[in-house]
């Protein structure tokens, strides 16, 4: 069994076995990343393929300071984002269409302030929601917001990184994150209320 250093060295030499081992080790996790952003199996598979090819080509640029998984994840995320930007899918969905879902644009500073109080006040219990319920709630969030939510909370990117990747301001990134959380909160509360109602009935 190859250790990580041997694996990287092998991939740098374009060794077929090392590449196969690397793919087998990380493909499932990276496919989940692709699915999370695209929600389309075929498209996700295509981008997984493109992402791994990019990983194999650019593995010489990998410096061993960070984790290999993190680096691969970043490459895959970049590929996915480039694809989305090319399609401009996230731009097609106008932000204006979702104005009714929140209090409206009351000003950036007040929103941020509100978002912090919201984050602190809305505590959810770990075992309260099932995985399909969480998925369903995230599916309800418009892609422009879920994209920033995914990048910030799941892929651990900072607002400046997100702003660079999506060619937006940091402030816009913060606003989109806040809106994503607000929409999620609404759906999750709804689900919780329904559950409680059912429990009372039973």
């Amino acid at each position: 069994m190859l250790n990580e250093k041997e694996l990287i060295d092998g991939c740098k030499k374009y060794n077929r076995v090392a590449q196969k081992v690397l793919y087998t080790k990380y493909s499932a996790k990276m496919y989940a990343v692709c699915i999370r952003y695209l929600k389309n199996k075929e498209e996700a598979e295509d981008l997984l393929q493109d992402g791994f090819i990019k990983v194999f080509i650019n593995i010489n640029k990998y410096s061993s300071t960070g984790s290999l998984e993190g680096w691969i994840r970043r490459v895959i995320v970049n590929v996915v984002l480039n694809h989305l930007l090319k399609k401009k899918r996230y731009k097609l969905e106008s932000i204006e269409n979702h104005k009714n879902n929140y209090d409206g644009d009351a000003g950036y500073s007040s929103q941020i302030e509100h978002s912090y109080t919201f984050e602190n006040s809305f505590g959810v219990e770990e075992s309260e929601f099932t995985k399909p319920e969480l998925d369903k709630a995230l599916d309800q969030v418009p892609e422009v917001y879920s994209l920033v939510f995914n990048l910030f909370h799941i892929d651990d990117l900072t607002h400046s990184e997100i702003a660079t990747l999506l060619s937006i301001d940091e402030a816009t990134s913060r606003t989109r994150l806040f809106r994503a959380k607000k929409i999620l909160q609404q759906y999750l509360i709804e689900i919780r209320e329904k559950k409680r109602y059912r429990e009372q009935l039973s």
Partner: protein
């Protein structure tokens, strides 16, 4: 024990370690693409060995051919300049000997007489042996006369071939009902056969 969490943390816990096995065809297509990349990568890595050697070989070849052409032209010219030209009549034919003498006289007045070997050559003639010789499996060739002096008689070298001449005759047969008309156009004779 219940643990209160932020929505972000909740989703991070849900998705960070999520694994979905992709279709096997993905690796096949990656491998296919990798073959192409590997090929071009190999070509680039081996640039110094293959490309440079081929460039050197090509340039060496072109220099060699250039030098060769230059030397060939020089030697040719030198030969023409230095070669002693001598018209020598070795053919026992009056016309040839006269022309050789005339050439000598014209081109080299008073100098040492130039010599030109006038060798008579004759074209090869293929004759089927069937009609000529007992040895029927071979073709007969006249012996090559290159580098043989013309003073030797051609009859001495090759025995004359006698080919029997068949009488020329052209017959046209015209069939007309039950009558066969045979016309010999050469002899202009009309015969009728019943």
């Amino acid at each position: 024990m219940k643990n209160n969490k932020d929505i972000g943390d909740l989703y991070k816990a849900r998705y960070s370690d999520l694994e979905i096995e992709p279709d096997k065809s993905v690796w096949d297509s990656i491998e296919l693409k990798n073959e192409e990349i590997r090929f071009y990568r190999f070509v680039w890595n081996q640039f110094n060995i293959y490309y440079l050697s081929s460039i050197i070989a090509f340039s060496a070849l072109s220099i060699f051919s250039f030098v060769n052409v230059m030397t060939f032209n020089n030697t040719d010219q030198a030969k023409i300049n230095s070669a002693p030209v001598l018209f020598q009549n070795s053919i026992p034919q009056n016309s040839l000997s006269e022309s050789a003498e005339k050439l000598n006289a014209d081109f080299h007045k008073g100098n040492s007489s130039p010599v030109i070997n006038t060798n008579k050559t004759k074209r090869k003639i293929n004759i089927k042996s069937d009609s000529l010789n007992e040895n029927s499996s071979k073709y007969l060739y006249e012996p090559a006369l290159e580098n043989m002096e013309a003073k030797d008689s051609i009859n001495k070298l090759i025995p004359p071939i006698v080919i029997k001449k068949t009488p020329k005759r052209r017959v046209v047969i015209v069939e007309q009902r039950d009558t066969v008309v045979q016309i010999d156009t050469l002899k202009s004779k009309l015969r009728r056969k019943r």
